[in-house]
Symmetry: C2
Subunit: 196 residues, 2 copies
């Protein structure tokens, strides 16, 4: 809460409206038709504001949706850098925890609408997904540099295994306790016994 | 094509109708509203048959949907058993190839509707998904028995990494050439250099 908010014993009116609009957008995105069911009218009705209040702040529906999605994805923790194993485990735990959050269903619906809303999806991928993937990518690249990871590592393949094992589940599926660490350890040491 | 079909120069009428109904069901499942948009009326209209033709053959909408999904998932190849590496690579290639097929979008939509259609989704998982996962599971268990895989292998974690790396992509994303083999090799040998 900012200094101003504390002085006035609450958020300023426009900030409250913004928050209600963002939450209404996420609620609607999480419902069945996903992107197809979202209109500025529906957001306005759900948030209890007028359409002009929304248009004053967001120039388009896509801009509102991207802001809402950005607000729902907390930033990934900056890895501590102690070791590749610890860094990957921190990131994996953060990704697992996200699935417990209220809005994880939105992201499934947005991804499902990728073909039909290619421009929105491209911006979502560029502005929200790729910066997060980059954090994981940097940890893997650093591991190759320090010698903790194999010199011939295919970073994209390793990423697909780490992220896929955490993300390839339906929104309502729970991930078992300790899964994040188990995946990281399995990825590091491999499952085979024959040296390759 | 069976012997009978060849003799008569085509499929019998009821078989043609069945095929048209299954294809119409898959077409509708692949479209945006997915399960929510599917009705027997819509299937009948798309297939060019009467509703009674559908009800004569399938007792309920769920039964029709499950039959259609089963028809769209070709069985996974029975692994040759040459080695765990080769068996996993065969399965991984088959899963990758499936994504190029026309109906891969249906499965995304059905999974997305899991919360809203829990009974249908439970049957889909039990009758279509689990038998396929069991094939992968058996290969991994056999690998532990033969000593090709670590004795302390967590089979479910390994499965989530193998399948997640192949399946955690949007329906329209392409998987790079050689990805299936790269994932299997990375899983077998691990990415770390420190023995654990």
């Amino acid at each position: 809460m900012s200094e101003t908010d504390r002085r006035h014993g609450g958020r300023p009116r426009s900030e409250r409206a913004d928050k209600a609009i963002i939450e209404a957008t996420l609620d609607l995105l999480a419902e069945e038709p996903g992107l197809a069911g979202l209109s500025i009218e529906a957001v306005a009705a759900r948030a209890g504001v007028g359409k002009t209040t929304i248009y004053r702040r967001w120039p388009s529906k896509d801009a509102l949706i991207l802001d809402a999605l950005g607000a729902a994805k907390a930033p990934l923790p900056e890895p501590s850098g102690a070791s590749v194993r610890e860094d990957l485990a921190e990131l994996a735990r953060a990704l697992t925890d996200e699935r417990k959050r209220r809005y994880s269903r939105c992201f499934w619906n947005v991804a499902g609408g990728a073909e039909r809303y290619p421009e929105l999806y491209a911006r979502y991928k560029r502005d929200i997904i790729e910066p997060r993937r980059d954090i994981v990518r940097r940890v893997l690249r650093r591991g190759v540099e320090t010698g903790e990871l194999r010199a011939d590592l295919d970073v994209e393949v390793a990423m697909s295994m780490l992220l896929g094992s955490l993300l390839a589940r339906r929104p309502q599926e729970t991930i078992p306790e300790g899964h994040a660490e188990a995946v990281v350890d399995t990825l590091l040491r491999g499952i085979g016994t024959v040296a390759r």
